[in-house]
Subunit: 403 residues, 2 copies
């Protein structure tokens, strides 16, 4: 598909940005996503990118070492002096006190931005502004200081450029994962306001092999016994505290031949999300119309940028009903029995839409088969095409920020 | 009180172990705590203490640096080779990959053992067996490997002995906090079985000043909007994922002049626990009898060793009703209005019973006053005396393991 896309891309460059093949209308240039509320600035000194690139700035054009790239970013904050400049340093181990808050108390937030090499040989970041705004919101929730997201974007761009040799070529469908970490390094086991913070960023290379692994169709394990989200919890924030509960359940899932977990919520066993992906459910509804359903942002799921992008796209297409509403696993089973469940799609932070083909529902020990792979023109494939056309530069679109 | 206890201790040594003053009957030597279920051994090579104490074994008799002691323990595990020996090394920073699981995914469990210097100049650990059993149970939940708790106890004893100079004298009421950390250092952002693990232990000195801070009577903030426990969560395990949600709420609490958070659960707003302490509620019940209530071990609270010890003690005293049952904040308010709420007590891992004197209940923005300090012979004080008599060696008791 991608080779085809590449040929098409070289043959005729589309006049206007588009998401899909010729049948699909374009999306408006200005994203319709609701703006996040303004974050009050703290009045502290903000880190600056300019002049801050001291340290050993060593662009690497060699072979990748493991999955990590050569360089990383690091900036330190203290309550007394505010932010130090942002430094680029070679990828290296962190030196952390055995009693650091990040280890003792889980004071950690993160966000991930995808960097891709387009068919036009230009490097793109996918909606970095959305990711950095989310990171600021999350930081406030874990008592970490505010930062200037525009400065951070400049730093991230420079990091990506300096390690550009690591970005896989467009035809491999691979990308770099820019992983921005924000942690509390202070040695303290009391729960008090942070006096220190470290913001760092490193990059993981997703070559065609690891991309294939990420995009493998999902067989998922669903068990209402386990939970990682609750009203009033941190579930809507990107922090390690939401990942810790997944280990045990994922081990059980793997033991049963499943490669992901479908998390359920409450007595009604509402479908929430997967380990690191939001969920979309494509059905034929009561009025015999196609409907795409995704759980609402009620604090129980991470507000995914890919989720948001897909919602904006399909609403613009205006071909079927789109709902943000809760749906229980029991409704899924009924729909499946009535042959009205078309597809279940996982959308992860790397901008992929992955088909789910089977749910192992532990309560009744039954398998729910999803015919996601059995349609002639499945929605997940069309979503992937639309997302990848932006990510890999087949269209110019503001979501794909060229650097 | 302690000086008095010391005098008494020197005058006449009790024949049998006892918990309190003369009026209190002794507790049976064999603790009545239910045994934890046996943990299946993994068949892997276990770390050994004997022969493992290479590294720079440097007993320190100098001044304490910050709150940490001079030495720490460290043992590494890999799936391929099992456990390496346990080394004692000088207290030093950890070298962790920026992409370690402990940072990225919160793969961390811990437990804390209290080490005290008795009035008899002997060093004691408070119920270390219970702590190490709990650590094994917790490790299994975070996909960390099993270990030999008896070997670890030998290692912990050696660590405490080598840094014995740091243990505060008995009359200061201070102690060492032996903090055993068990983390996933592997650089991996996928959720798969661990291939590496690090178990380490370091010690924090609680001098009389920090003890005073720990034992300050509590003014607590209760807000049903926030939650860190729910059915199917990790709430009953000692892991950083349960501490991360406390930052934001504690900041709000501190802003309102409260020094801790009382966590509530569900629509009924059941009382669960404090930030790092279990809760006991002492009331006059419907039958006009005194009753001590603590929330049950239903997966929503950490099964505290101090909690368990107090339950065993007061059940042995057999002077009032003891119940493990859920109680809502609304019941508390009713009891308080009827002047039947006597005391609320926080019991932390350092073996203290701390009075709670006020709850700021955010839903109605009212303060609930607790007369914990207004009784002639309060229960919290009696519990403290009983616990401290074991911790500081005024009685010989199997809960205080002499090393």
């Amino acid at each position: 598909m991608h080779r085809k896309a590449q040929d098409e891309g070289s043959k005729q460059r589309p006049e206007k940005p588009m998401f899909d093949d010729e049948q699909t209308p374009v999306v408006p240039i200005v994203p319709t996503a609701p703006k996040s509320p303004p974050i009050p600035t703290t009045g502290i000194k903000q880190f600056r990118c300019s002049g801050g690139f001291a340290g050993s700035f060593a662009p690497n054009f060699g072979k990748p070492c493991c999955d990590f790239t050569s360089n990383m970013l690091e900036a330190k904050w203290s309550r007394e002096f505010g932010w130090d400049p942002m430094y680029m340093v070679p990828f290296q181990n962190l030196s952390l006190s055995p009693g650091s808050r990040v280890i003792l108390q889980g004071q950690q937030v993160y966000d991930v931005i995808q960097a891709t090499m387009g068919f036009d040989n230009r490097i793109r970041l996918f909606r970095p502004d959305q990711h950095l705004q989310r990171l600021r919101r999350t930081a406030a929730k874990l008592s970490l200081p505010d930062f200037d997201e525009h400065e951070l974007l400049i730093c991230v761009k420079r990091l990506v450029l300096s390690d550009a040799s690591f970005i896989p070529p467009a035809y491999t469908n691979g990308s770099l994962e820019v992983r921005i970490m924000f942690i509390g390094p202070e040695p303290n086991n009391k729960i008090t306001m942070s006096r220190e913070a470290t913001l760092y960023a490193f990059m993981i290379r997703h070559s065609s092999q690891s991309v294939a692994e990420y995009k493998r169709s999902k067989i998922v394990y669903a068990d209402p016994k386990y939970s990682r989200a609750w009203i009033g919890s941190l579930a809507q924030y990107k922090t390690s505290a939401n990942i810790a509960p997944t280990f045990y359940v994922t081990d059980i899932a793997n033991g049963l031949g499943c490669n992901d977990v479908l998390w359920l919520y409450g007595k009604e066993e509402h479908v929430l999300d997967f380990n690191e992906a939001n969920v979309f459910i494509f059905i034929i509804n009561d009025r015999n119309k196609k409907e795409l359903i995704t759980p609402p942002l009620n604090g129980l799921i991470v507000p995914g940028i890919t989720r948001q992008s897909i919602l904006e796209m399909v609403r613009y297409w205006n071909e079927f009903t789109v709902s943000e509403r809760s749906i229980s696993i029991h409704e899924l089973r009924t729909l499946q029995r009535q042959r009205r469940l078309l597809e279940i799609i996982a959308t992860n932070v790397m901008g992929n839409a992955i088909p789910v083909i089977r749910i192992h529902y532990e309560s009744t020990r039954t398998d729910i088969h999803i015919p996601s792979l059995e349609h002639r023109e499945p929605l997940w494939e069309r979503l992937n095409r639309a997302l990848h056309s932006i990510e890999f530069g087949l269209v110019d679109h503001p979501w794909g920020l060229i650097i």
